[in-house]
């Protein structure tokens, strides 16, 4: 069964450094999303992406964040200058648009900012 994949599974970085988290959504899906989950807290929406542009973003998704679909398969989240409070699990998700509203989540990337 097709699934969303994410790399790396765990990323450790120093405060102030840039990180890029990578996702490969399910191949025929058209909507892509990023969420984060700080340890012990709820899953929070960051951004949605459709037709090569941002469709919707939350208050969390400020100028430090950007998303890109550089080719036909990858979908990336970049954090320009990481802060301690960016430490969280980051989930990518996708939706086929043609049927249903459910979102298919990847296994996540654990980001640790030191």
């Amino acid at each position: 069964e097709p699934e969303v994949t994410q790399t790396p599974s765990h990323q450790v970085t120093q405060m102030g450094q840039e990180v890029i988290l990578r996702c490969v959504p399910i191949s025929n899906h058209l909507y892509f999303y990023w969420y984060r989950q700080i340890l012990g807290q709820k899953v929070e929406f960051l951004v949605s992406f459709y037709n090569n542009e941002i469709s919707e973003k939350s208050e969390i998704f400020d100028d430090q964040f950007s998303v890109e679909r550089p080719d036909g398969s990858n979908f990336t989240l970049k954090i320009r200058s990481t802060k301690l409070e960016d430490s969280a699990m980051y989930f990518c998700a996708s939706n086929p648009r043609t049927s249903g509203k459910e979102q298919f989540f990847g296994p996540g990337t654990r980001l640790t900012v030191l």
Partner: protein, 114 residues
């Protein structure tokens, strides 16, 4: 802003019994209400979706109800098994557009005891 409350942080149920989880929200009703399962260190997995004009949905041992007057959804697992132990997340989607991010509750940690 919208607030979502799930009935308790942890719920212990004897194997074979029905587990009932609650999701309450404030303010306006979503177009869709979804339930996801999350295992430790993993991404959410979609279980069931119910529309605002539907009262009940079933899938195998799972049942979800939606009462827009009470602003509440109930999620039932019948004939519960230890393998059902996980955190269950309620998620709201406010419009039917695919770009919508999901607004999640904090989840209920369900433990099914043999």
């Amino acid at each position: 802003s919208q607030k979502i409350e799930q009935n308790s942080e942890a719920l212990n149920i004897q194997e074979g019994k029905t587990a009932t989880l609650t999701c309450n929200y404030t303010n306006y009703s979503p177009a869709y209400l979804q339930w996801y399962r999350q295992d430790p260190g993993r991404g959410p997995v979609f279980l069931l979706l119910i529309r605002e004009n539907e009262k009940e949905k079933r899938k195998e041992r799972l049942k979800v109800t939606f009462d827009t007057t009470l602003k509440q959804s109930l999620f039932h697992i019948t004939a519960s098994q230890p393998a059902d132990s996980a955190t269950y997340l309620c998620a709201l989607m406010y419009s039917g557009g695919g770009a919508d991010g999901l607004t999640f509750g904090k989840g209920t940690h369900l433990i099914i005891q043999p």
